[in-house]
């Protein structure tokens, strides 16, 4: 049994070192290729093995499950990786092929002023898809630093006033600006680009929110876990024994 424990720990250590190596390799090839690399088949099997080993860890080391802080940390990691895979491009493809759930992964919308649009142009293809609701651009404006709207200062913000419309009724409204996307109907809508000549239309980036909630729950678990474990558990515990 002792031997088995050791073996599991060595595998875990090997997986961590491998991921360090993958990350450094990814840093050298640039963001676009790195994304492809981390979504490739060999890496998908790596992620699955990592999740599997995290679960094996729980079964193999009762201390992990019994110590709440360690439980939070490792559970958080499982959640982040699993939910990240679920929400990835490959995750969207897999769900389409297996369950027939056809959700847009990434796309773009061009909305002229005072128009209601439901057409999304998919990223990296010429295909389009329709949303089950319409988005209306009520107003688009650019704000500059300094006084007035003369455009002498640097750009401070791009703002699109949007309304979500279904069956002729407005069901949601928001001023979308950089750092403040609209979240509606399973998608995030980001301020992406605009009409550089007359500011008569806006370009929104449409991003699926699949798995994102779970990723954030994972973040909370991980963050709470590390502060609890290392600050409260290791640094400020009553009995000193390390």
């Amino acid at each position: 049994m002792e031997k088995f424990h050791r073996l599991v720990m060595w595998i875990v250590l090997l997986l961590i070192i491998l991921l360090v190596g993958f990350s450094i390799y990814g840093a050298f090839i640039g963001a676009e290729k790195a994304k492809e690399f981390f979504n490739s088949l060999p890496l998908i099997s790596y992620w699955l093995i990592l999740i599997f080993m995290l679960i094996v860890g729980f079964l193999n080391f009762p201390r992990l499950a019994r110590t709440p802080s360690l439980l939070l940390i490792h559970f958080g990691c499982i959640l982040i990786i699993a939910a990240g895979m679920y929400g990835s491009e490959a995750g969207h493809k897999a769900r389409k092929n297996i369950f027939g759930v056809d959700k847009i992964y990434r796309g773009q919308m061009i909305i002229p002023q005072n128009h209601e649009i439901d057409i999304v142009k998919l990223e990296n293809t010429d295909q389009i898809k329709l949303l089950p609701f319409l988005i209306k651009l009520k107003d688009f404006r650019i704000e500059y630093y300094g006084q007035g709207q003369t455009g002498t200062g640097a750009i401070r913000d791009f703002i699109s006033s949007l309304a979500v419309i279904k069956d002729g009724k407005t069901i949601a409204q928001k001023d979308v600006e950089v750092n403040h996307p609209l979240h509606f109907g399973g998608y995030y809508f980001y301020q992406h680009s605009y009409d550089p000549k007359a500011a008569r239309y806006t370009v929104l980036k449409v991003v699926s929110d699949s798995g994102l909630g779970a990723v954030y729950i994972g973040y909370l678990c991980l963050a709470a876990g590390v502060f609890w474990h290392f600050w409260l558990g290791q640094l400020f515990r009553k009995t000193e024994n390390n």
Binding site: R6, M9, V12, L13, I16, I17, L19, V20, S23, I24, G26, A27, F28, G30, A31, A34, K35, F38, G84, Y145, G153, A154, I155, R156, D157, F158, E177, V178, N179, H180, P181, Y188, Y190, K205, V207, L212, V215, Y216, Y219, L222, A223, V226, F227, F230, W231, Q234, L235, F236, N242
Partner: protein, 260 residues
């Protein structure tokens, strides 16, 4: 690089001068003078931060200049905290970190309130940078203790190993918070909570080295103190690459490149 002949600039230089003199005194083993100068430097830093606050009339943690000013002030409390609560004492090294941290505030980052591009106008920006830098201070102290450990034997070696461990324990949660805050911000600003850009991957790699360290230490405890130290030192090496190489060399074009 630039010299700023403003009140703010001169206050920063005064702080650096105090820390530098304190550092020299510490090296010469003039303990008392060193400590006094260190404290004087701290008071100057507090004054400098308060002055900045008064000038800009908001919490001065909005841009890189202010964050580094804040860290230059924080190094003294960190030093005292580590000494009193965590039993890790190395004033000379802390003074040195103080100089290193204030250097960019004094000579590189412009104290002018900068017109931030839209993506950087997010409340997550300052905490993301601040917790990261604070964690890096602890990790630098950890690596320093680790290096000392490599040259010690017997009980003193174990003592240093454990001091290094306590520093990593102090810094790791902050590092995790920095990583997660950055990811959250990425989702708001760039529509992805993880974009695979070089800076993200270097920071992930450095975080993972400490994860590896914890697992290695959980396996072997203090049986191999030298290997434990090597983990911590390589962690700092990756942090330094994350901080400088990616930003300065411009070898990789990434989202984070304009952060300098």
């Amino acid at each position: 690089m630039e010299i700023y002949y403003t009140t703010q600039g001169l206050l920063v230089y005064a702080t650096i001068a105090c820390y530098l003199l304190a550092f020299l005194c510490a090296l010469l083993k003039w303990r008392k003078a060193g400590r006094l100068l260190y404290m004087l430097g701290f008071l100057t830093a507090v004054f400098s931060f308060a002055y900045r606050w008064y000038q800009v009339r908001h919490v001065p943690l909005q841009n890189l200049f202010e964050v580094f000013l804040f860290l230059g002030m924080l190094i003294y409390p960190v030093s005292v905290f580590c000494k009193r609560k965590l039993k890790v004492e190395n004033d000379a090294f802390d003074m040195f970190i103080g100089i290193v941290v204030l250097f960019p505030a004094g000579f590189i980052f412009s104290p002018e309130p900068r017109q931030l591009p839209p993506a950087l106008q997010c409340w997550l920006f300052a905490p993301h940078v601040a917790v990261y830098m604070l964690s890096y201070i602890f990790m630098a102290k950890a690596a320093f203790e680790g290096m000392l450990q490599l040259f010690c034997t017997g009980d003193r070696s174990l003592e240093k190993e454990s001091a290094s461990y306590r520093m990593v324990c102090a810094g790791f949660p902050l590092m995790t918070a920095g990583l997660l805050l950055g990811s959250w911000w990425g989702q708001l600003a760039w529509s992805d909570f993880w974009g695979w850009d070089p800076k993200e991957l270097w920071s992930l790699a450095s975080w993972l080295v400490y994860v590896g360290y914890f697992h290695f230490r959980a396996m072997f405890g203090r049986k191999h103190p030298r290997i434990n130290s090597l983990w911590v030192i390589s962690g700092l090496a990756l942090i330094i690459i994350t901080l400088f190489w990616v930003n300065l060399s411009r070898i990789f074009a990434g989202l984070h490149s304009y952060a300098t």
